[in-house]
Symmetry: C2
Subunit: 197 residues, 2 copies
């Protein structure tokens, strides 16, 4: 509508999750009208991140170093290994700030329908790690979905055979969550997982 | 949290309107995990747009050519000149598809409190254009805000002195708008601007 470069920028912005044609248009015009410096910085930062960021050699989260900050830290507890589906999960747990162990990122979950088996999500690497590190407990923090649960179950069986304790993080009503706004699946789970006091 | 390049990318993404820390994080991880090619294309497109896009020499909308497509077109009606506040307004009117005249983009509105006077929003250029082009009607499409109305009034007085017809686009209840969801100011305006049938 305006000119090829602007149309192209609007199109390129739609690569961002949650950005449709209307937001892309607003973003492109806003940057070109009021923040060209910010737009240049963003372009530069995108290029450097794409070129420099790869996966941690041990836990497979995203990092530009051979080992991520958690894996490289001497202060983290080597005996705890939290298994998650994505780097975003690592970030969420780190931001909560209470976990002091290490991680392993599966990069997904088992999904037989899509042909995603144990080797595709790195379960071999996970089991190999149990041989070389003093892990005494695996904490399964895969998502509480059908696939996440199946993945947790599979890892649990393999790890128990290797003599490692396996735990699963608790699921239920979030703290501060009002019952009337909680979905039925979560509520049902909260009831079936109730504990005596 | 992850590594400097990722943190920096999350920070740089916040330059986009409507993107806070949480969305920036989601965008950065999504691009690095699943769409590095799209991220590179976005970086490239941002750089080329920042370097190549400037303002139309006649109407001042954003374009990479000396004149924008509307100004350069021989098929647009030279006698109609629609005055808007921003390039986004031009785009909205072009997308509606019924206007066949030309534009002038003020790049803002009069705002004495912020020290924005007629010369800051290019009213001199607008008046000069009336001398050199066969404009017979100015259509004021500034926003229906206090500043937009004041700007429309100011231009109207100046243009009338120059012997040009001046009109203002209609404001009221949008087509398909349900009365109960329309804000009070719009409703009040719709009543005070009522026409006999
Ligand atoms: Zn790591
Ligand atoms: Zn133009």
């Amino acid at each position: 509508m305006f000119s090829p470069l602007i149309d192209e920028l609007m199109h390129a912005l739609k690569v961002l999750p949650g950005v449709g044609p209307k937001s892309a248009q607003r973003m492109a015009l806003q940057l070109l009208e009021h923040n060209r410096e910010g737009a240049s910085r963003l372009a530069d930062s995108l290029q450097r991140a794409v070129a420099g960021v790869a996966r941690c050699g041990r836990c497979r989260t995203l990092t530009e170093q051979p080992l991520c900050g958690v894996c490289a830290s001497e202060r983290r507890d080597n005996t705890l290994l939290c298994v998650v589906e994505t780097p975003a999960d690592v970030l969420a747990i780190e931001q909560a700030g209470s976990y002091q162990g290490k991680y392993f990122v599966l990069l997904g979950h088992l999904s037989p329908i899509d042909g995603v088996g144990p080797e595709d999500i790195g379960i071999d690497q996970l089991l190999a790690l149990l041989q070389t590190e003093p892990v005494s407990e695996i904490i399964l923090a895969t998502n509480p979905t059908v696939e996440g649960e199946a993945t947790a179950f599979y890892i649990s069986e393999r790890a128990k055979k290797a003599g490692i304790n396996v735990t699963r993080i608790a699921h239920g009503v979030p703290l501060g969550g009002e019952l009337e706004y909680i979905d039925g699946g979560t509520l049902a789970h909260a009831f079936s997982s109730r504990r005596s006091l």
